[in-house]
Structures are given as structure tokens and as C-alpha cells.
């Protein structure tokens, strides 16, 4: 399992055809206390770069963009009642589990690795 990041601060961990998607620690920190996570339905098709849900804090709302394309096989329903889990540990709390599309390999390749993302965040703040 390896982790990759987008410029919009989502992460994706993939292994074989399965992947988990979440938001980065940088993102949860920037949002502050998260109060609500809008989740997609199981079975929803995600398209790389398109929004599939949103995270809300009291003063801000931020869309969650799919880092890669695929089909949602499970949503983290724990977040419905406890959105604060994203604040507590952004990398433990995945938002959706997906089945990757055939072409997702190239999509994954284009994302940043941990080191690159670290550099990217330095320039963002």
C-alpha cells in the first residue's frame, strides 16, 4: 500500500484494484474543526478531478475531488456521526473505498508522493 497526494489536498492509498481516499492533514488543519462530511452513495462513479463530496467546518466548506477514477464500494459511515475523526487523524480516517478503473494507473502516476506533497504544502502556507 502506498500513498499519493493531489494539489487539492486529497490522499489516495491503493493496493491492487482497491483504493482508499481521504483528505490530508494539511487540509484538515486549514479547515479547522470539521462539522460535517457529505458522502457519496455506494456505487457512485468517481471521475478523477471531479468533486464527489464535501467537508464543512463552521466557517468554510471544501469540496473533495477524486484523485483517481473508480467506483465507490464503501463509504466511511462513521464520519456521519463523528466528522471530528478527520481532525483527529486525517490519514487513518478514509472517506471512501473505491474499486479503481482500468486507466487509474496513469492517474496515480501523475500524483505527488509524500515528499513532493510536503514541499508543495510549504509553498501553499
Amino acid at each position: 500500500m502506498f500513498i499519493k497526494f493531489t494539489q487539492k489536498h486529497e490522499w489516495v492509498k491503493s493496493e491492487g484494484k482497491t483504493a482508499y481516499i481521504g483528505i490530508s492533514d494539511f487540509a484538515q488543519n486549514a479547515l479547522g474543526d470539521i462539522v460535517f462530511v457529505e458522502l457519496p452513495q455506494t456505487g457512485a462513479k468517481l471521475e478523477s478531478g471531479k468533486a464527489f463530496g464535501s467537508v464543512e467546518s463552521v466557517k468554510a466548506v471544501s469540496e473533495i475531488y477524486a484523485p483517481v477514477s473508480g467506483t465507490v464500494t464503501e463509504v466511511n459511515s462513521e464520519l456521519e456521526d463523528a466528522p471530528e475523526l478527520l481532525n483527529a487523524d486525517a490519514y487513518e480516517s478514509w472517506i471512501v473505498k473505491i474499486e479503481l478503473d482500468a486507466n487509474s494507473e496513469t492517474e496515480l502516476d501523475s500524483l505527488m508522493n509524500e515528499e513532493e506533497y510536503g514541499e508543495f504544502c510549504k509553498n501553499e502556507s
Binding site: 460535517f36 457529505e38 467546518s57 466557517k59 468554510a60 466548506v61
Partner: protein
């Protein structure tokens, strides 16, 4: 103290700065003239003349002028009101003015700073709670502009939730509400389908409704009592709507809910309406307020302000504007609605009204409306000058067809006799029909007097 470039200043009882005070401020800032303050405005864009406005009036002159204008209106001091059509002459308890006249309430802004706005916030929380109890819904917002925009906002909410583009307006809802929905719809690609009422009953024609509804229907809007005052049978409409995956939006008269089963029981998803009847004056049609309540499922799709309960640092109960991520100041172009200022003070009046009426009073008001309107309905038919128009049951307002001659002439005579006789529906396609409303304020003597004049109206 005379300043170099200082011209003579206008003094007003509303502006505390004096000429000397202004000069002092200029000196402190090192500014020479008021013109200097406006130096960013290009000279060519300045208005180099006085505004052409009426001559200034002192307070006594103003009072006289305004009383003179007010006296040119037919009003409840001069005439007995049998008019409705969405705005009603219900009784307003004295308690309300005592509360809404408090500057702490009327002069405050939207309660952004919660810690010094607990009065407004708690009152809105109580308002939301009472609207939920009246309508049977789970959540309510803090109000919208009026009944018409409440319908339009509900329509947009259904469109946002379902992603579907058809809206069915079933039966005869208030024509102004329908027009407002049309305005809001036409620039959004929403298609409004009007499903007519059955001429016999005056309520939704199920035959046409069943034909009109498809899988692309976002919501059905039904008013009950409808524009004709008639009670719609929501059960069947609701079932059909649900089958097609459409939401049910009902527009209701809040007074009727004292005795009528709340729309929630029939499966309504969103309940809206005009709240003027709850403790607000008729005000020539505004301000009243619109209410908007829905099921829990759609809580985060509701437009407008919402107040929620929370706690302070010492765990004391407090209230605060919440779920704001839906709103324009955070979500900007992606906001569910642009509404911010609503009709808070009118909603406060309604909260006080519902508190004064209470559980028993709201029923009693509704009961008086039903008894008196039905008494009058029969009396008018007994004159032989009116005949029934529709067969469905009504609440406080009814349609009768006038067969005593020219309806316009009759209306004028009734006005001369001191009545606001009702609404002539000829303009909306119901020839010679009158819509007459009877609230708890009308007495048997007033009703009998009206009836007597009707008997004479054709003769004089």
C-alpha cells in the same frame, strides 16, 4: 471656532456632529475641508447641484403629512374586512407590540455576535420549534420573505435535492405564489407544469394530476386550504408523488393548523406558507413573513438562516446561527440560496402570537373561523343572491357565485356601505365569483349586516 474652508453645515436632530465638532475632527486629522474627504471621487462624477427632493419636514409637519396619506386608504378603522386571499384580518394581541417595540429587538442586526444576541437567537429557536409543532415537520428555518418566495425557495430546494427539472403546481394555489415561482424558475431551466383544479370540487383534479406527473418531476406544490379556501386531500396526491420519486411541497395557512391535520401526516416533505396571520398586520401586503419547514433528511438543503442550540464555555445553554456552510457568505456562488436578511421581526411577532394563543387559543381561533365562515356561507346563499361554486370543504374562506346583478356594482355599493366585501375573482377567470374570508374578528352582527346589504345591493 471658525475653520478656513468650512461652509455652513446642515443640522439635523439625527446627526450629532456640530460644526465645531466637525472642525475639531478636521484639525485632528489635518484635513481642510469636507471636499478633501471625497477627493477620490472624480470631479466629473460629482453632482454639482442640490438633489431635487421635497422640502424638509419637521416632526409635527411630517406627522400631519403622513396622517393625511394614511387617511386616503380604506382600512379596518373605516371598513369591516371580509377580504383574504393570503392576507387576513386576524386579531393581534396587545402583548405583541410591547415586545416588537423593544429597540433591543427591532434595531438589532442579524445575530452574528451570538453572545449579545441571545434574545433574538432564543426567540428564533422558539419560533422554529413552534413552526415544527404546528406543521409536524422536523426542522424550520428562521423565515423567508413571504408565502410566495417560500414556495419558490421550496421549489429550488426540491430541484437541488432531486436534480429533476419539472415542478407541478397542482390545483389553484395563490396566483401570486405561482407567478413568483415562474419568475424564479424561468432563468434556471425549471419547467413549471400547472395541473388544474376540478371545476366541480375546486380542488386538485386527480385525473389531470396523474397525467401530468412523470419521473422527471422534482416536486408537487399543493396549497391547502387552497386559494379558494378549500381543503385539499393530500393523501392521494402524496402517494402518487412518492411513487414517482417526487417531493411533496405543501403551502398552508398556519391558523388552519390549529384544527387541521398537519401536512406531515400526509407525507409532506417541505411545508411553507405565509405567516402574516400569526400576529402581523396586513400592511398592504408586507411585511409579513414566509415560513419554511422540512423533514430532517433535507436539513442541510434548507435555504436561509437557522438557529441551533449549543453551550457556552461554562456549559450554559445558548443559541447560535448554525449550519452556515449552506449560506451565501461561505459558499458564495455555490450557496443553496442568496437569502440573508429575512423577516425576523415578523417571525418574532408570530412567536409571541403563538405563545399568547398557546395550545388552546390556536384551536379556538381556528374554531371561530370555521363556525363563523360557515354561518356566513349559508346566510349568503339564503339571500338568493349567491349560489355555491365548489363542493369541497373549506376552512375560513369560500367562493360564491353572485347572481344578483353586476358584481362590480355590488362591490362598490358594499364598499360605500363600509365593507371590504371580498375579492372579485372575475379577473382570474371565475366570472361573477367572490372570495370571502371570515376571521374570528367578525361578529354575528357584522355578518348579518353584510347579508342585509347584499339583499339591498341589487336594488339600490
Amino acid at each position: 471656532m471658525n475653520h478656513k474652508n468650512q461652509k455652513d453645515y446642515y443640522t439635523s436632530s439625527y446627526i450629532p456632529n456640530t460644526k465645531d465638532g466637525q472642525n475639531e475632527m478636521f484639525d485632528i486629522m489635518g484635513i481642510n475641508s469636507v471636499e478633501e474627504l471625497f477627493s477620490d471621487i472624480p470631479n466629473e462624477l460629482k453632482l454639482h447641484r442640490d438633489l431635487a427632493l421635497p422640502k424638509t419636514m419637521s416632526e409635527p409637519e411630517l406627522l400631519k403629512h403622513m396622517k393625511n396619506l394614511a387617511a386616503q386608504n380604506v382600512n379596518c378603522d373605516t371598513h369591516i374586512c371580509f377580504m383574504g386571499g393570503g392576507i387576513y384580518d386576524h386579531f393581534i394581541p396587545a402583548v405583541i407590540n410591547q415586545i416588537t417595540g423593544r429597540q433591543e429587538f427591532y434595531s438589532a442586526y442579524t445575530p452574528y455576535q451570538a453572545e449579545i444576541s441571545q434574545g433574538t437567537l432564543q426567540a428564533i429557536f422558539e419560533y422554529q420549534s413552534m413552526i415544527c409543532r404546528l406543521t409536524g415537520m422536523d426542522v424550520s428555518n428562521a423565515s423567508v420573505y413571504d408565502g410566495a418566495t417560500a414556495c419558490a425557495e421550496a421549489m429550488l430546494t426540491a430541484y437541488n435535492i432531486t436534480g429533476r427539472t419539472d415542478i407541478i403546481i397542482a390545483g389553484r394555489i395563490n396566483p401570486q405564489y405561482a407567478e413568483t415561482c415562474e419568475t424564479y424558475a424561468k432563468y434556471r431551466g425549471i419547467n413549471i407544469i400547472k395541473s388544474p383544479f376540478a371545476p366541480e370540487t375546486g380542488t386538485v383534479s386527480m385525473q389531470y394530476f396523474n397525467q401530468a406527473i412523470t419521473e422527471n418531476c422534482a416536486a408537487v406544490i399543493v396549497q391547502t386550504p387552497n386559494f379558494f379556501g378549500l381543503i385539499e386531500d393530500l393523501g392521494e396526491i402524496s402517494k402518487t408523488a412518492k411513487n414517482k420519486g417526487a417531493l411533496l411541497i405543501t403551502c398552508v395557512d398556519p391558523i388552519s393548523l390549529g384544527l387541521l391535520e398537519p401536512p406531515a401526516s400526509f407525507g409532506a416533505d417541505i411545508v411553507v406558507g405565509e405567516g402574516q396571520s400569526l400576529g402581523n398586520s396586513m400592511n398592504f401586503g408586507g411585511p409579513g413573513f414566509g415560513f419554511f419547514a422540512c423533514r430532517n433528511d433535507y436539513m442541510r438543503k434548507m435555504p436561509g438562516r437557522i438557529v441551533g442550540e449549543t453551550a457556552d464555555s461554562n456549559n450554559n445553554r445558548g443559541f447560535i446561527l448554525t449550519l452556515q456552510a449552506r449560506e451565501q457568505h461561505i459558499r458564495r456562488e455555490k450557496a443553496l440560496s442568496n437569502i440573508c436578511t429575512n423577516q425576523a421581526l415578523c417571525a418574532l411577532a408570530a412567536t409571541v402570537y403563538m405563545s399568547v394563543m398557546g395550545k388552546a387559543g390556536i384551536k379556538k381561533v381556528a374554531d371561530l373561523c370555521i363556525q363563523k365562515s360557515h354561518y356566513m356561507y349559508k346566510k349568503l346563499i339564503d339571500t338568493g343572491k349567491f349560489k355555491p361554486k365548489f363542493s369541497a370543504p373549506f376552512f375560513k374562506e369560500f367562493v360564491l357565485e353572485y347572481n344578483g346583478g353586476d358584481i362590480k356594482a355590488m362591490n362598490n355599493k358594499m364598499l360605500q356601505a363600509g365593507f371590504m366585501p371580498g375579492i372579485n375573482l372575475t379577473n382570474i377567470g371565475l366570472d361573477n365569483c367572490m372570495l370571502i374570508a371570515v376571521t374570528e374578528k367578525r361578529t354575528v352582527d357584522e355578518i348579518d349586516a353584510y347579508t342585509e346589504y347584499i339583499k339591498k345591493a341589487g336594488e339600490i
